[in-house]
């Protein structure tokens, strides 16, 4: 599904190049649940953003299925991103002015999903995540765990092929974290490909494979 070969990503600061990713190659198959680990500043988020097509490598190749992403026009990349990717963030990033229901609805609006279908899909997800009672509340009226549930709901409501989660449990208590991880496991069993970043060894165990980054290199790549 994803083939990364010899990726490089650097920032130029005061005419000095700082490498975030160097010569990174990685293959991820459909149906995998990959955990990326590594110290802070290792380039995990950068890698996730590149996979999610929010960021571009400075060098190297990225194939998503058969599409050479590194050669695509921005517009086409945005299309791929829109229809194949779901994103979950550490800080949830819900839109403050929208209710739970409306937050989950946003991706469907951008995918031009019909109203009746939007309603049934959102109703279905609210049910599955057991947050029906919260659907008219605003983000600031929810606990962190509940906000992240909404974050995940929003990420998958558009039926993406790939779920990218950047430290989704980083801001949560362990009990809340486990709810999210159980949800990921369920999604994975239902066939979703997941790439998550976490610092938590225990949560890494929910996945099928652990990739360890350090200084922009893959230090270790272990199947569980």
């Amino acid at each position: 599904m994803i083939t990364l070969s010899n990726l490089e990503r650097f920032y130029t600061n005061a005419s000095q190049k700082t490498y975030v990713l160097r010569d990174l190659s990685l293959k991820i198959e459909e149906g995998e649940f990959v955990t990326i680990m590594g110290p802070s500043g290792a380039g995990k988020s950068t890698l996730l953003n590149i996979i999610g097509m929010l960021d571009q490598p400075d060098r190297g190749e990225y194939h998503f299925f058969d599409e050479p992403v590194h050669k695509l026009k921005e517009k086409k990349r945005q299309e791929l991103h829109k229809y194949y990717m779901g994103f979950v963030f550490q800080a949830y990033y819900l839109i403050d002015e929208l209710t739970v229901y409306e937050n989950i609805e946003t991706p469907l609006l951008y995918r031009k999903v019909k109203r009746s279908e939007r309603q049934s899909r959102i109703a279905d997800i609210l049910d599955r995540f057991q947050i029906v009672a919260k659907k008219d509340l605003f983000p600031h009226q929810l606990s962190g765990g509940q906000q992240q549930l909404v974050g995940v709901a929003r990420a998958i409501v558009g039926n993406p092929k790939l779920l990218l989660a950047d430290e989704p449990t980083g801001n949560l208590h362990s009990s809340q974290g486990e709810v999210i991880m159980d949800l990921f496991r369920q999604l994975h069993r239902d066939g979703m490909t997941i790439v998550q970043v976490t610092h938590n060894e225990k949560y890494a165990q929910y996945g099928t494979r652990v990739v360890e980054l350090e200084d922009g290199f893959v230090r270790q790549d272990v199947a569980l």
Binding site: H81, D96, E97
Partner: protein, 789 residues
């Protein structure tokens, strides 16, 4: 999707009440002003245009090739046009006949706006009739057409056709028509029309305006040329018959002014039938409207871009969930349009509220909603869309450009942009404000200068009484000693005109000269100089006991001596071009201001000929009302059928500055509005800065900064910007003030302190706006603000 945009927009509005208020209030003020001004402009541009066949109708005028344009034409021109010019469908003459007494059922009223016209008048100019038939209304010589306004004051709601009124105290007329302009405007807005009772059989005397309606597709330039040739010929013959050898300068070009240009494009005509419009004030108003709206739009742009970083997260998230740039651009523009729609609703209300005020400033009686509600609402809606678009497009462009990865990185939220663009805009706002203040300052100074200036005569406590008949002055003179015996009356004079009034210029010939002069003419008795306290430069004024003084002696002013280049004025001999005998100059009066200080003092000749339209009484009294009552009592013997009217010369003279005063007022309000809106924006920006820097302020306080230190920190930016604005406003204000003052023959100097004051005042109120919030922030509990982070 659109509903989603609206929801976010509305909730944003609700969440940021302060910023929403600043935006909406500013925009609504701007739009209210534009609405009012648009209404005014619409009204001005539609004067007369609505009249049937207005595009074929013209007013004749004489063009003295650089020497001015005059609308007065010979009595018989209309008749001649109809008889000799097949291009002309119909033509008519019109002359204002001044304030005249009207009597009905024992009630006496002076009617200010009266006109005498030819019987063809309402066939030439299609003024709409409520009662009567415009084709035949003036067929009878004693027919009278009145305005609906006047009809309602005299007759109430009933149809007044056939009612008989006494006009001018002597003649009876029957009402044959009632004009109703409705909401439309015309430069022909007299209250009363009668037929001409007289005409002058002359081609060199000009005493009425002439209008003509042409056939379609007439070559107007060709017609003008033929008319000029023929009129020149007629005039030449008449001059020669008077033993005057005319030269080229005595012949004007005869031209046609389209009817729809009369209202706005007659400012350079020597005399207007009515206080008209002026294309220059149209430009001024349009400019003011645009400036005020621009300042309000700038507020929106500034606040929106300043707060853009707060929307960064939303932009990032939306892009991650699949939004593309244009969708976000649309969203932000929807937001700004929503705000401007709210503002538009308030603007309509404001416009309705401010209307009486505005009408007083522009001197019109405009309607907002009652006139054409659909048109106005649509117009305001369009304005709101345009304003929203203008205000929203730049911030939308900036915000929608954020890249998601950058926008979502922590740290972005706090940094914001450097705000250079914003600084430029704020500087622009304050430049406009200061420049307006400078110009306003000079207008006020000039008006005060003119009002306080030495006029060369004493206008105080000079009471003017208009005479209804020229012959009344004989009776005034017979009662002269009785008038002067009244407690508080010092002297009495009768004269054709007083300073500040319309002064006719007549052709005058100095004996032995080929070239004629055309000075102002005043006919007056011997007490004119004493009543006005005129000073003699040479010789003497008319004396009451020298008979020749009222027959053929002249008094001239110094300007006439200079213009005519008289080496020894006393004893030089003059005559009117139409007269045959010359008379001596017996005195030279020192120059005094015949007109407002916008004009030079022009040559004047005075003569004792018995043409008098006013009595003037110099009063010196502490009990004015008793003196006036006594004069009124005695006046009954002068014109028993006419109630006495009076005014005071100083008031009348100052009325000449009405237009300047109105302009000063207009700019005053414009300045106030601009300043207020600019301050509103400054207030919003400061509030935002304080909010953004709460933490920094807290830390500084904990570290020991004083309140004044923090206020200084917050006002430093504004001080720099307003200083810059002042520097830019100096030359701009100078340029416009200088150009405006150039129109005045006598003007105040461009004193530096007006500039300084304008700058200082603006900077001070600006600092106050910033400083007060700074103080509030500085006084807040630092621990509180640090904890809330």
């Amino acid at each position: 999707m659109f509903r989603n945009h609206l929801k976010i927009a509305l909730r944003q509005l609700g969440r940021n009440k302060l910023f929403s208020t600043v935006n909406i209030l500013g925009l609504s003020l701007g739009m209210a002003v534009v609405t009012l001004i648009a209404l005014y402009l619409h009204n001005e541009f539609n004067y007369d245009r609505w009249m049937d066949q207005s595009e074929l109708t013209y007013r004749v005028y004489r063009d003295w090739d650089g020497g001015g344009k005059v609308i007065w034409t010979p009595s018989r021109l209309a008749e001649k046009l109809m008889a000799d010019y097949p291009e002309v469908q119909v033509a008519t003459g019109l002359g204002p006949s001044g304030e005249t007494l009207l009597e009905y059922a024992g009630q006496k009223r002076y009617i200010k706006e009266t006109a005498a016209v030819d019987s063809t008048f309402f066939r030439t100019l299609a003024l709409p009739f409520r009662y009567g038939d415009p084709q035949t209304a003036l067929d009878q010589p004693n027919g009278m057409v009145i305005s609906r306004r006047l009809a309602e004051t005299i007759f109430g709601d009933k149809n007044p056709l056939g009612e008989v009124v006494r006009f001018g105290g002597e003649d009876d007329y029957a009402i044959t028509g009632v004009i109703d302009l409705g909401a439309r405007h015309s430069h022909l807005d007299y209250d009363l029309y009668t037929r001409f009772q007289w005409y002058a059989d002359s081609w060199t005397g000009n005493n009425r305006a002439t209008y003509a309606r042409l056939h379609p597709q007439v070559d107007v330039a060709g017609l003008e040329e033929r008319l000029t040739a023929e009129m020149t010929d007629l005039m030449r013959r008449e001059f020669l018959a008077m033993n005057y050898e005319p030269n080229a300068g005595d012949f004007p070009k005869w031209k046609l002014q389209p009817l729809d240009k009369v209202h706005l494009h007659s400012a350079d005509f020597s005399f207007l039938a009515k206080a008209g419009g002026n294309i220059r004030s149209i430009y001024l108003f349009a400019l003011i409207g645009l400036l005020v709206l621009a300042v309000a739009i700038v507020n929106y742009v500034n606040l929106a871009t300043a707060r853009a970083s707060q929307r960064a997260k939303e932009v990032g998230v939306k892009k991650v969930t699949g939004a593309v740039r244009w969708q976000l651009t649309v969203q932000f523009i929807v937001e700004s349009i929503l705000q401007s729609l709210f503002a538009a609703a308030i603007a309509l209300l404001l416009a309705e509220l401010l209307l009486p005020f505005f009408n007083a400033v522009v001197g019109r009686d405009l309607d907002v909603l009652s006139a054409q509600p659909a048109w106005i609402v649509l117009g305001v809606l369009g304005l709101a869309l345009l304003t929203g678009l203008l205000a929203g497009v730049y911030p939308a462009f900036v915000m929608s450009s954020y890249r998601p990865v950058t926008a979502l990185r922590s740290g972005f939220l706090r940094s914001g942009d450097k705000g250079l663009f914003r600084k430029v805009l704020v500087t622009g706002q304050f430049t406009i404000t200061i420049a307006l203040l400078i110009v306003m300052g000079f207008i006020y100074r000039q008006v005060n200068f003119m009002i306080g200036h030495e006029l060369g005569f004493q206008p105080d406590q000079v009471m003017l009484i208009p005479l209804n008949f020229n012959s009344s002055h004989y009776r005034v003179e017979r009662l002269k000693s009785e008038f002067e015996q009244i407690e508080g009356v010092q002297s009495l004079t009768t004269a054709s005109r007083f300073p500040g009034q319309f002064l006719p210029d007549w052709g005058v010939i100095v004996e032995g000269r080929a070239e004629g002069e055309s000075p102002y003419v005043i006919f007056a008795d011997a007490d004119y100089a004493r009543t006005l306290d005129l000073q003699m430069a040479k010789g003497r004024f008319f004396a009451p006991d020298i008979a020749a003084d009222t027959i053929d002696h002249w008094v001239v002013n110094e300007a006439f001596v200079r213009k005519a280049e008289l080496e020894e004025p006393l004893g030089a001999r003059l005559k009117f071009s139409a007269d045959s005998v010359y008379g001596q100059i017996i005195g030279v009066v020192k120059d005094f201001h015949l007109k407002g200080l916008n004009s030079e003092i022009r040559p004047l000749v005075m003569h004792g000929y018995h043409q008098r339209w006013y009595a003037g009484l110099k009063l010196s009294t502490s009990d004015l009302s008793a003196t006036i009552a006594a004069v009124q009592q005695l006046w009954k013997e002068v014109e028993p059928n006419h109630p006495m009217r009076y005014s005071f010369l100083d008031d009348d003279f100052a009325k000449q500055y009405d237009e300047q005063q109105r302009l000063g007022q207009t700019i005053f309000y414009a300045t106030l509005l601009t300043l207020f809106i600019a301050l509103l924006g400054l207030f919003g920006l400061t509030a935002f800065n304080v909010e953004r820097r709460t933490r920094e302020i807290g830390i500084r306080k904990v570290l020991g900064s004083s309140v004044s230190g923090i206020v200084r920190l917050l006002s430093r930016d504004f001080l720099q910007l307003s200083g810059l604005a002042f520097l830019v406003a100096l030359p701009v204000g100078y340029y416009f003030a200088d150009r405006w003052l150039a129109d005045f023959a006598f003007r105040t100097e461009l004193s530096w302190w007006v500039f300084a004051l304008a700058g200082l005042a603006t900077v001070l109120v600006g600092l106050l706006t910033v400083g007060l919030q700074g103080v509030k922030a500085a006084l807040a509990d630092p621990i509180e603000s640090l904890r809330s982070e």
